[in-house]
Symmetry: D2
Subunit: 285 residues, 4 copies
């Protein structure tokens, strides 16, 4: 049994290769109609945790579009801790997302949880999301590396920056160079937020990798009132974008209601982060 290829592989000393600045010095910019992630714009993705109905999505989508968001986020496939929790509307959810794009012109970002859902999601989504719990689902990462769509890769709850970049390397090594990283909080002893948002991940990634990185303050906070200050902090630290949970009626949300902003709160957030982003971009360049 020839293990030569194997022996070769384990001799590679550098942990990451193609995602490194040594491999490609200039920032990777992932381009979309109207916004570029990683090119100086502040890309904003907003919407409910889960796609619940066409009405809920359209109402929320119109609100976030009016406030200036570029992408509509919403899960059709939901990786839930409990098998008895709402698992998403699945294919019907994807149909709804399609309708949202047609109605509003917003770009769509939504999660794939396995090979089967990825095959469906990549037909609808403008960005395919790999969630934090699947950050080291290497089989799924390889499949994502063969997708024609850009991939949003969320940092696992206890992943180091090196592991995050190695997960991205799984994708890029299969051919897909359009990867957007996302910091969404790590698990610590601290109990005043659901996870501890680790904003130092942004400059740490930017120092060694050319990939863009955005921040999700909603999943980190787990509570609405921290989302706006953390979004401002994310812009301050130099993130390339934000992913924010917004729901037209948070109290009736099927998941993540307590951390979802009301549309008016999101409008305020967009107003603040837009001004900040312009200033940060000016002072720090």
């Amino acid at each position: 049994m020839a293990l030569d290829g194997v022996k070769e592989a384990i001799r590679v000393s550098k942990p990451y290769k193609m995602v490194s600045r040594d491999f490609k010095e200039e920032d990777t910019a992932v381009e979309f109609e109207g916004v570029t992630i990683g090119g100086g714009d502040l890309a904003v993705m907003a919407g409910p945790c889960a796609v619940e109905s066409l009405e809920q999505c359209l109402e929320t989508a119109r609100a976030v579009k009016a406030a200036g968001a570029h992408f509509f986020r919403g899960g059709a496939y939901k990786p839930r801790t409990s098998p008895y929790s709402f698992q998403g509307l699945e294919e019907k959810g994807l149909e709804i997302l399609n309708a949202v794009r047609e109605e509003t012109g917003l770009l769509i970002v939504t999660e794939a949880i396995d090979h089967e859902s990825l095959a469906l999601v990549e037909q609808v989504a403008d960005i395919v999301q790999i969630g934090a719990r699947n950050m080291q689902n290497f089989s799924l990462l390889k499949r994502a590396g063969r997708s024609p769509k850009p991939i949003l890769l969320k940092r696992g709850m206890s992943a180091t920056i090196e592991e995050l970049l190695m997960a991205a390397e799984y994708i890029t090594s299969e051919g897909n160079q359009r990867i957007i990283l996302c910091e969404r909080g790590v698990r610590t002893f601290a109990d005043h937020s659901r996870n501890t948002l680790d904003l130092s991940a942004v400059p740490a990634v930017q120092a060694v990798s050319h990939l863009p990185i955005i921040v999700d303050p909603s999943h980190a906070a787990g509570r609405r009132e921290q989302v706006l200050p953390l979004a401002r902090a994310a812009v301050g630290v130099g993130a390339d974008g934000l992913m924010v949970e917004v729901h037209c009626d948070p109290t009736s949300a099927l998941s993540d209601g307590p951390q979802s902003l009301y549309p008016a709160q999101f409008e305020q957030l967009m107003c603040e982060v837009t001004k900040l982003a312009a200033l940060v971009s000016k002072v720090s360049s």
Copy 2:
């Protein structure tokens, strides 16, 4: 669009159901030829991290069998942090494991990393392992719930006990009641071991669930010299079994060499834990 089923589901207040002692009071015992996990025996699984060759496996298997192990462990599919690391011999690895069982009579435990590998693994393995990184790969858990083979479910690196039990609930809710949990260390700031072995997980699980739970000191420690004391501690705390990495030649192992025991060390371990297990079982019953 009818969300009635959905609404019903989220009304369920108890986080876990079928894995709970409220559902089934007596301990679940998973029976094999020659050993029962969860029935008072100390089940021991031993072998290399990865299946590398027939010779390596047979040599190691004969040693662990002679020392008293019940199961041979070895990965044919390896979830590795780097896409450039050895990913396992895959189907050839499964053939080798089959040969090991035929030659030695040891039962086989090996990991599945996705739907495709699970379909192959369940034809060969006596226990199908779901690794720590896949503990919340819910799609894979559901598939494992439809497998005819018992499932060894490892605790994720930052999973709470409730999340571990909910992951087991995904399996059992699909019909597979034969689940063995495994504590393998959690990620903390501590740097003297690779992960921090959380032995309080054993009584914590036993208090609320009927499922058996074993301990893997090798992945927690990450270094050979801590494996024996931690194995004794695991027996002391009341674990139903141990999973230990043993390699006939650790210095040339393709993965996890530094934490793999030499066969003579494993023999010493078996000698110590067997006596301890007999005493713990006597004093604590």
Copy 3:
């Protein structure tokens, strides 16, 4: 033996009292000549980790003053992990700090590590610092509560927000109401920064307490290149001030050299955070 008083005390159900917004609704503003902490200003404290010599301090102090800092920070008493590391110049260090104030007009913030040093520090300092390792040195906290000087209380490396506020309660319950809290990073598994800066602590504290809270990005980062982005993030999240390590010659610093900014970097930082603070104050009020 009468334990009645004791029984009374443990009946108190609220964990904190005088530091709570329930006790005092409006923000506490700690006033100094030229700047107020907690009143809308962005107070900036800058200087070396340790007072090493009059020359080093004066050179650094002139630079940070020119850049716009309000306070000079520098340790005369250094709590070091090793007994063989430089422990500070002690009383000579305090004399140097006195000279710095006289020469530059900068206010002085410096750490006390026990009762004895506190008695000396409070004669010189404008703010007495209690460090992270002493956050639950309750004997020292009580003594600080009887000091005539404001206290800067740093969050312990694994302290919850509730524990931080209870530590402040120790101070205020002895009579000293002028307390400034400081987030400086918590200990986690993450290895790309020395500690993980937990900026959500700022809105979390502000929601329940009237005390001002500042952020120390230098000790969190442990490396120079993350300090500026994290300082911007701290302003973005709404902190009342910053504490930043600056050294006129970081490569020869006796402690914390790698995280100390060069004077020119601090000037850039001040330029950026001043503009940001003005904007944040405008958009978020």
Copy 4:
């Protein structure tokens, strides 16, 4: 200003010196009348969290003595998170502890929280305890290094093994060689126990230091039902002793009631750990 001594000190590259096995190869054994810590015995310290009254202490002390404990533990000075919680009976508590020794012959271990209490505690105690929150109270450590009594040094809630050993180095560098380390759990995300008992600290310390190390399962667990299994695990891992909270009436305890064993439970614990210790000592030597 001459910094030569300073420069010399920071040139020292080894983090710890006198506590290292390089400095002293053979195990340090701290001898007492009837038991030696670090010499192969399993030393057991038991008693309530706090000294509440002479009656409570005597009743508990007689029970733990009858069960085979060597030391009576009980706090006269209690470092409590809240200034409004019971802070200990202080000098009256020390008088009670004195009476306990005279009545029962048990050795006394009790905590000092500052210079002032240490001066009183060392007159009464056979072992002076420095608690987890004071592990890096370097001023107190230096004072403990000049005490004629042995010091029990508890690991801080987020201390690395290196930091624990450096804290011990502070003590030994002042002249006191009789130091006993204590693992009592570290702070993690896990919520099924109050802290996560890190038993790998025992072999990790033993590998590099000659100092004895004991385990406190009570403070780690925070709940009574985990104490016995964790005590067995501590013996299994090779600890030199145990510190266990026992109260004659846990439901009325002024602190730590939920984790205090009933006397009958402690008797069961002693019965189990004594047999285990004999076996571990036999099989592992």
